[in-house]
Symmetry: C2
Subunit: 166 residues, 2 copies
């Protein structure tokens, strides 16, 4: 993990949720907008920077799904896998922004193609980890469409927002 030293290769913001809903397809002329939804669990906003590679992904997913940020009914903090909770993955390139004057610049963000490739692999790894760890069919991994506007509704019992750079 990039511990304050060099530039990060990826950035995640984590929020706990009771329910979260994300648009995955905007409304078209003939179609209504489509959404995915999770109940209790964790929202992972994710951004990749220049230089990020697939080798990073396993460690990222393992860290994010195993860090103890979720409040169990006992009050104890457990991981989202232990809760067990669902996961909503939100591609969020804006997390790579740096202020220059009054504008945000995204010069360190990864290219669209590489970002999509890493994002898809990240989602697949999350799905695999959750499937391996949980026998509960109520636990789901949902995710947004890369490159789209991320129309989100979030209902929390305290978002307990955390930042993790990798």
């Amino acid at each position: 993990m990039s511990a304050g030293g060099g530039a990060p290769a990826a950035r995640a913001v984590l929020q706990q949720c009771l329910r979260a809903q994300l648009q995955v397809q905007p409304a078209g002329d003939q179609s209504e907008a489509q959404f995915v939804q999770i109940d209790r669990g964790m929202v992972i906003y994710i951004c990749f920077f220049n230089g990020a590679s697939e080798e990073l992904l396993q460690k990222m997913v393992s860290t994010l799904l195993n860090v103890r940020l979720c409040e169990a009914s006992s009050g104890r903090l457990v991981s989202v896998l232990e809760l067990p909770g669902s996961i909503l993955i939100v591609p969020q390139a804006t997390l790579g922004g740096k202020a220059k004057g009054r504008s945000m610049q995204y010069h360190n963000n990864i290219s669209k193609e590489d970002g999509l490739r890493l994002y898809s692999a990240f989602v697949s790894l999350c799905e695999k980890e959750v499937a391996t760890a949980s026998a509960s069919s109520s636990v789901e991994v949902k995710h947004g469409t890369y490159g789209n506007r991320q129309v989100l509704q979030l209902d929390t019992n305290g978002p307990y927002t955390h930042l993790m750079d990798f």
Copy 2:
């Protein structure tokens, strides 16, 4: 602004919202929970670190309220003051967390008393800037109670999440 160099003195996460509601008083034996709410505008999650001082606040508030992150009806990005939009300030000490193994540690976070003092001054400065900049009575600054659990409901048209370290 701490541009990737030294340790930051404060951290803000910004999300755009169509509506956001935050609990400011939990339900008691004889009382219902109390909430504040804004409509279109920006949520500012804020965390102070050891070493943060009041001198930092004016620059922080000026930067956060003037950076162009809000989509005007024309599609152009403008500041929350220019939109004009409301502001919901959420104290979020968890933003100072660093992973150590599977746990989060908050060793760099400011003490509770200093944090409360800076938070209150930050809120006051935001209120002052908004009152000065906007003639619209529909523009409001609302904020959470420092030290409480931040029970949040968020409705976005794309949270467009940004991180700013100071």
